[in-house]
Amino acid sequence: MKPGLAAAAVWAQPFVLLMLAPLVQGCVRKLKAVLQNRQGAGVLQPYWDLLKNLRKEEVVSETASPIMRFVPYAAFSATFLACFLVPVLLPASPLGFAGDMIALVYLLALPRFFMALGGLDAGSAFGGMGSSREMMISSAAEPALIAALFTAAVRAGSTGAAEAASAAAASAPAALGPGLALGFIALFLVALAECGRLPVDNPATHLELTMVHEAMILEHSGRSLALIELSSMLKLTLFLTLLANLFIPWGLASRTDPASAVFSAGIFGLKLGGLVLTLSVVENSTAKLRLFRVPDFLGIAFVLALLGLLSEGILRLGL
């Protein structure tokens, strides 16, 4: 196998994620609709929505500063850059040498910062409200996110995402321990909060009293809106990929070559499908939390992650 081809396969991974992102979103929406006995739009609908928005004229508030135009690009590029740090099918990531999971956390914080700025910049009351809520949630989510990722990092002895994922896959059935399960649940809860999913924020509503994420991006339109939408889809897919590869220790290819990538693609698809199904079921079976209960929710995620960390690394808990 030529090294060039292997490198190309590794570099293709983030683009696979980018292409998959709208599909994942579409599947979640479709599944939710089916579970609610609705017909729902087709799974490809997000692609058409993005294309439609890309072609539309962009309207920007007169009071807005240049930041407003800059926000979508910053948000999208930071999220996309984060994808370069994550292994998808192969036990390597394109920029794994340059940044680990800590960098990942900060790359995910960057779009949030810019979007909050954008929400304030437009000068609408809703935008400001959305920004302040988003910052409150993220300040609670971040420690939990870091603790959950560290749970996976402890076994590998490295904070690199690719190393952690391949260490989990290498010790497959023996790795199944309480630490892994606790880390999985914690990261899942954090993903719900970070991606604006149901118990924390309802992605389908525009009811002004409850919306968080939607309130922030209310003033964006046209191409800006398309980019922001795409980056939030990408973020959801990224979280699901992390869950699938760090905490479900099967299917990741053991060597870096395109042939095994094809094989692991099948298993990755299954894992992703399973996670999407879980997400839709969870979203369908919970009611939205009051905003002031969100820190409690994330506190539970944090405690679970800490317990996972304890049992995985420092203490090897249990009988």
Binding site: A174, G177, A181, V303, L304, L307, L310, L317, G318, L319
Partner: protein
């Protein structure tokens, strides 16, 4: 347990870790019936862990103990507590002494403390880990009792302390002799009954089961 197959070992460690999580669940729940459920779940998990421990090599007294634990601590005692709760018509823990996030974080701290304490006197082993786990559950039970006002929650805290002792006994010595274990279970049942009756009396004398009313005797 030393030469048991790996999956059994894994199952036991999984079950006890989930029991630990259920103790945290009890710490984080606001409604009393969820707290009682968390206790019931914990007892069932520990009963299953006992069954797994007794499987290889087969130890009949541990298997019987596991079954009894599931039936009594997972079924009968929670049922009785539910009945008490229904009769005194109290559902929520409105204003705890220690807030929910604080009690969760404090609980993690206690887990660390007990592991560190046991580690300092015992080498890392099956016994040491089990003892640490038992001590953690005991401390979490105490922490629940300290942080809450409702008499029912305090009773659940006491029961979690008892579960901690169960874990310690199971992992260090594979349980006490059968006759002693039966005596302990009987004691526990009587204790729960006594506490239930006392909760009725508190309710009828104070028209509330907040234990912060119980602070008149001083000096």
């Amino acid at each position: 347990m030393t030469n048991a197959p790996g999956w059994l070992y894994q199952a036991v460690s999984f079950l006890t870790a989930l029991a630990l999580v259920s103790a945290f669940a009890a710490l984080s729940c606001r409604t009393l019936h969820l707290v009682i459920r968390a206790y019931a779940a914990q007892s069932v998990l520990l009963g299953l862990a006992a069954l797994a421990v007794g499987l290889e090599p087969v130890r009949w007294h541990i298997l019987a103990l596991g079954l009894l634990t599931i039936v009594l601590k997972g079924g009968a005692i929670p049922w009785f507590l539910f009945k008490v709760m229904e009769d005194v018509k109290i559902r929520r823990e409105a204003a705890p002494f220690i807030g929910y996030p604080a009690s969760l974080l404090g609980g993690v701290g206690l887990a660390l403390v007990s592991y560190a304490a046991v580690r300092s006197v015992m080498p890392e082993s099956f016994t040491g880990r089990g003892l640490a786990m038992g001590l953690t559950l005991m401390l979490l039970g105490l922490w629940l009792m300290v942080g809450r006002k409702k008499a029912v929650t305090q009773a659940v805290g006491l029961l979690i302390v008892d579960n901690g002792i169960f874990v310690a006994a199971l992992s260090t010595t594979f349980g006490m002799p059968m006759i002693v274990e039966l005596g302990l279970l009987f004691d526990l049942l009587v204790c729960v009954t006594v506490i239930g009756v006392l909760i009725f009396r508190i309710q009828s004398s104070f028209a509330s089961i907040n234990t912060d009313n119980l602070s008149r005797l001083k000096g």
